[in-house]
Amino acid sequence: METLEQIKDRIAAAIPGARLEIIPNDTPANQRSLLVDREHAFEVARLLRDDAVLRLDYLSNATGVDWLDTSIKEKVKVKKVVEGVEKEVDEMVERKKAGYLEAVYHLYSIAHRHGPVILRIRTDNRTDKTRLPSLTPVWRSAEFQEREIYDLYGIIFDGHPDLRRILMWDGFQDYPMRKDYAEPDDYEYEPTPHDEVLEKAQPHSR
């Protein structure tokens, strides 16, 4: 199979304007992935499927990942006037990095028996801009898996033929796989000696 760099060049040549980035992976598995921008993701997916050399016709796994907002603390040298004298002072600066939701697609080729090529698409943030293009028209395999991502992570896939909740019931309000998901307060008595459960039980026992 072609290396990820070659695949990237191939896509860049065929789809001008596509913003591509290779995400490194330091584990022994060394499965690096290709980050594609939202606007060109659908075209890229179609190219990967139809290209005679790549022929990635089998979408094995599609899943979501939730990356929370992170803040990175850095030491920055700042010039300040201290007691009338200009000095260089170390100051802690906190940089906020916005979190995002990510859809990850693992592609294989049955025709050429190679793979995996890992495709990632990211949303802008975790709150209001959570739309991604659906790849279901390219690979039917994404149909239920994207529904599952929508159900559990709340990514809204534009162009999906039937985007409904799949594992949770209709009318469920939150996205349970998100990292900041808070369990609803629907305590039932359980025969357990654990403190946290008993604490949770306190307000419910009259």
Binding site: A29, Q31, S60, V65, G154, R165, L167, Q173, Y181
Partner: protein, 391 residues
């Protein structure tokens, strides 16, 4: 939270043309919920079927009755503590589930199981395949109306293999046997002889089973041409396992990825050409015979030695930051685990790629136009286990 997006669109089925051109029937459509407590759905699985007389006009599978958010549980426990939970995904095949998870973690952490462990893994995985396919054939016949007898024969044979699993791991079904970088315990004394005995007797059972089934007129009438799946759709829809090979697509991960030490074994990959229920049934019977071939060689060749990689840790296992996707050819299809590590004790992201869930993608395509009785048979041939579908 975008509240407006949460409500799901109403399910409005478009009105179908009248059933009969000469107006014998009124052509009214009937929406029926098959399941979740229907005896043929192999668990709590529901199909919203829109019927036109006896024919299926539309079918939507409804899941989630057994949903316990296995992935969330796993993200909140250590890597090792998810291992017994994987037993409960596809509770017929706990050994292959263990292997798939162990394989992914080994990819993530760079562990290499020793030779003997690889052999034990292959032996247990192929025995699991026998268990799964034997049961599936029994259940499929049960769905077709061969009540009781074939299923009981299948269960009798399955019990012999489960006895082996119990002697090895301590539990019949919830084996929790494999570990990162090897297996938990070595084979007990006399286990190999017991396994050889089972493998030697198995073809006799298969012959007996096939003698009165494969040529049976009723079975052929109920299965041939029913639920045919075109190969292109199967590939596009991510179908895997015996269902994909029944469509004539030669794709077996044991051959493609050669994970473990499958490259040392000679076996053939049975392929169908119609992709109907009969092909799926036949493929499974043939696969069992190939599994027996692998088993015979593995049981004869198994070397002595350690069973766990010396680098593997039981307590405080922390892989490096990164991710890995590992997959194996489970009895039901491609079983994959996708793991992201953030360097802590718990996986940051843990995802199961459940074969029977994704194989249901094409259930509607296979069922439309067939009668309700055929839906039962088609679903039976997909081979689902709800523990895995709903997770």
């Amino acid at each position: 939270m975008p509240a407006a997006e949460i409500s799901s669109p109403p399910r409005n089925y478009e009105v179908m043309p009248k059933a009969s051109p000469n107006g014998e029937f009124d052509g009214e459509l009937l929406e029926v919920a098959m399941g979740p407590h229907h005896p043929s759905t192999h668990g709590v699985f529901r199909m919203d079927v829109v019927l036109d007389g006896e024919r299926v006009a539309k079918l939507k599978p409804v899941f989630g009755y057994l949903h316990r958010n296995h992935e969330k549980i796993a993200e909140n426990t250590t890597y090792l503590a998810s291992m017994p939970y994987t037993d409960r995904l596809d509770y017929f095949c706990s050994m292959t589930n263990n292997w798939a998870y162990a394989l992914s973690v080994e990819k993530l952490a760079g562990l290499q199981p020793p030779e003997r462990a690889e052999y034990i893994r292959i032996i247990t995985a192929e025995l699991t395949r026998l268990v799964n396919h034997t049961c599936l054939v029994g259940f499929l016949l049960q769905d077709m109306g061969a009540l009781g007898t074939p299923l009981m024969y299948a269960f009798r044979e399955r019990e012999k293999i489960l006895d082996l699993f119990e002697a090895l791991s301590g539990s019949r079904m919830m084996c929790n046997y494999m570990r990162f970088g090897g297996c938990r315990a070595d084979l007990p004394a006399g286990w190999l002889d017991g396994a050889k005995q089972v493998v030697e007797n198995y073809p006799r059972f298969l012959d007996e089973f096939e003698a009165f089934l494969s040529g049976n007129e009723i079975l052929m009438a109920r299965t041939q041409g029913v639920g045919a799946l075109p190969a292109e759709l199967a590939v596009s829809a991510g179908i895997s396992g015996p269902m994909l090979r029944a469509c004539g697509v030669n794709y077996d991960i044991r051959k493609v990825d050669k994970y473990g030490i499958y490259d040392r074994f000679e076996f053939r990959v049975p392929l169908g050409d119609h992709g109907d229920v009969f092909d799926r049934y036949m493929i499974r019977l043939l696969e069992m015979r190939e599994s027996l071939k692998i088993l015979r060689k593995a049981l004869a060749d198994i070397p002595d030695g350690p069973i766990v990689d010396s680098k593997a840790k039981i307590r405080g296992f922390k892989p490096k930051v990164g991710e890995a996707y590992g997959r194996i050819e489970g009895p039901k299809g491609e079983l994959g685990f996708y793991l992201i590590s953030d360097g802590s004790l718990n996986p940051y992201r843990y995802r199961v790629r459940p074969p029977s869930f994704i194989n249901l993608t094409v259930l509607e395509d296979m069922c439309v136009g067939h009668s309700v009785a055929d839906v039962v048979v088609i679903l039976g041939s997909v081979d689902i286990v709800l523990g895995e579908v709903d997770r």
